[in-house]
Amino acid sequence: MLNNYLLIAFRNLRKNSTYSLLNILGLGLSTACCIVIFLMVHYHLSFDTYHKKADRTIRMVTDIHLEGVTPFRGAPNPMSKVLRSEFSYIEKAAMQATRDEVLISVPNTSGIPDKYKEDLFAFVEPELFDILDFQVLQGDLSALREPNTAVLTEKMARKYYGTADAIGKTFRYENKVDFRVVGILRDLPNNTDYSNGILASWSTRKSMPEYAPYEDNWGGINGGTYCLATLQPGHTMAELEAAMPEFRKKYRHPDSEILFQYKPVPLTSIHLDSDYGTGNMQKSYLWALTLIGIFLLITACVNFINMATAQALKRAREVGVRKSLGSTRGQLFWQFMFETSLIVLAGVIIGIVMAKLSLPSLNAWTEENIEFSGPGLLLLAGFMAAMSVAIIFLAGAYPGLVQARFQPVDALRGHSDQAKAGGFSLRRILVTTQFTISQILIIGAAVVTAQIQFARDADWGFRPGVVLTVPVPEQSHMKTLREQVASISGVKNVSLCYQPPASSSNNQTGVRFENRTEGEPWMVNNKPADDHYLETFGLKLVAGRNLMPSDTVREFLVNETFVKKLNFASPQEVVGKKVDIDGDKGTITGVVADFHNWELSQDISAISISTESKAYSTCAIELQPGNPEPVLAQIKKVWENNFPEYYYESTFMDDQMAEFLESESIIMHLVRIFAGIAIFIGCLGLYGLASFMVMRKTKEIGIRKTLGATVPGILWLFGREYIRLIVIAFVIATPLAWWAMNAWLQNYVYRTPFGPGIFALALAATFVVALLTVGFQSLQAAVANPVKSLKSE
């Protein structure tokens, strides 16, 4: 019997090869997308779950109470020490302080050391190795208690020394401190945000002059300095949280007891939490992807049901014959289920292959390391098995039941009841569902695109012309550098500063205005920069004058937000007033127009600009229009003459600003691509459906033509139906999409306005899609010779 089913299934697939291909490819494509989405979501949810003690490990974070509450992911340096002594149920506690853009020099035989810029560098307390899971390949981690020791991952060891066997080798940190390698770790898994490749001993840090004074300081926190702690089994995070109000009285911020309020969060929350974690992935995107995945599955199922019921009509006669040959209803049902299973299986296999093939390029593009293996694979296999069974039953059972129920006599006569063969109302529901999904996705994709474009075109409040930034590693030569660079022809302006106007590292500090006794209840972002800063970056002065050249702080420029926060009506009113910012007293000489000092998605802070030359670490160079290449080469030469010990790096300002948008836009692109695929698969289904409708109406068309119907008249026969369904779908889709996209846009402070235009676009796009998929076949049917179509009955 199975043989017979198999034969008929294969011959049927071959005979209706267009249908079969559309069906299998559509299913394959949606399966591939579902697999990829599943892997991505699973990957991002799996971050740091692999640590054995993950479920009872916490990270201490800080709420900064100023004006409102600002969540912050760091904790003060003495936190781990105090946790260990204060709470008996803390099994282990450790600090980890990550440093960005660290200069590492590795001695080699040539005498001039190799230089590297590293982002994955951290000072750690040795207890960290008892909290997180690291695999030690070589060496003794207890040596990490001593100063000037470090542990490397295999990958870093190979990078520096060409071999993983690097115990005892040395490297130099920031041209200041030497480290000896005492241990080698197996490379870390991809799914961790504790991904440092160089772990240096905390005891070294204690003796470094820039850190030593703050070792026991409760007055400062740094976004890269985490405190991790493992609780003893049986104790909960809530216990620790409950103890915090008492705790912060005892270990208070020097200025205010309520300023820093600590609280524990789960270790694993780091990846998805943009308040207290790295927020490397936003939950809203995972939701969006999951939703699209579900939409894809629904679309695939709807397609399947549509196509299969359409086929059912063609096969009504076969069903009748089989019944007249003694087949039971059950046997017929299982025959059709068997055929469905075959198609689903073929689709799923194609989907797996496509997913596997697409993963490497997806990884390269998103800069992630999602693997088609490992523990996720078992889950994936389960997911796919469940998915296949779901599709088989959802998509196969319905047509199977319908077909098995055909009255043999009716079926033989070839006019099986339309209502029974996937009744028109069910068909309408399915198509409306599909149109609804398509329109939601089109609206979603359009809003996402608009937001990307909006961010790209946004006014940052300053002119990011051709500005190049290079680091200033040492204060001693910075003036020489400035003069020499300024004298290069092709250079328009040069400014020494701490950071460009928009930056991910900014200093926030307190401010006291005039003779007020209290500090203001908000923080100011102080931007150390020289008198060329405004010119170089094209910042606009709205009141007063620019800073005078100076090496110390005597004057301040502030921005409009600063003025607003002081409750002054016009910028003029603050000019000439005295302020005390971070202990530096001076006069406000001018007010600059507001500009974005963080990424676009964040609010503009109150800003002060002052000539605090000891904080300068960047040299910003504005180039004349024209070919930059020779100028760049000269700048590099000048820089290397001044800083032979250091690693030269230059960044164009607009690249840097693009980088602010990049991680967002990659995932947005992904959302758009998947949405596009879902719409495309929906089109495949519509195409199949259209041919079904054409087939169903062949006789009607023939009769109408013999009665004198025109071609447009017949096209309208099809069009009317689809237009009605599209409009119904639009009515359903619009509020859903509006609600969802509005919720998504709440993530952004500066969001694209979206109004009727986008909805009209979705409606128009759906019409075009329907026209393309349905129009051609309808036209074919409309122009066909009526004699032929009547004969086919």
């Binding site: 034969l7 011959r11 076969e318 007249s324 040959l325 087949s327 039971t328 209803r329 009255q407 033989l412």
Partner: protein, 230 residues
Amino acid sequence: MLELKNIEKYYQNGATKSYVLRYVNAHIAEGEFVSIMGPSGSGKSTLLHILGMLDEPTEGEYWFLGEAVHKFNERRRTELYQQYIGFVFQAYHLIDDLTVYENLETPLLYKKVPSGERKSRIADLLDRFNMVAKKDLFPAQLSGGQQQLVGIARALIGNPKLILADEPTGNLQSQQAKEIMDVFKKLNEEDGVTIVQVTHSDINAQYGKRILHLMDGRVENEEIVKKQSS
């Protein structure tokens, strides 16, 4: 062999009933060859479908080999049907996607006949109808007459006691039609198979021993065929 008592078939259409069959009573004995005749719309085919259990009467009793078919559920009707009845259609109704051999095999698969027996039965029939060479062809590759021969062979494959034929020669030319009718006659006379056919053709009706004339859903009269055509 079978008996119909007051069989009625109608479609309820709002308040009106449109009758297809009214008070049909008939008795067909084993070994008979009965023709059903009547103008279009007189209910011949519906009557045949009811006899073949492909359709159900709205009212009335249907007794088959002493069993009350009208009380059976679908499963039991299918069992009875599998065991005793073969159907031949005007439009042949072979499964297009199966070869001659596979078409013949399908009813045996539904009856769960073991593979060895299936092979020998199909081989016998192919032999008997001189179609051995055509066993791997698809229906579309055969002429109408040949297709109908396969249709008859398929109806016979389960060794039925009753063959129901719905205008078996309706789509055929006269020479082919004659050959097909001869096959039926031979089956009836030599193998003792009971045959009920629906036909428009007086010539074909003469092959049977008895003719039921239907008019507007009623049996108008019964005619005993006296002279048989040669």
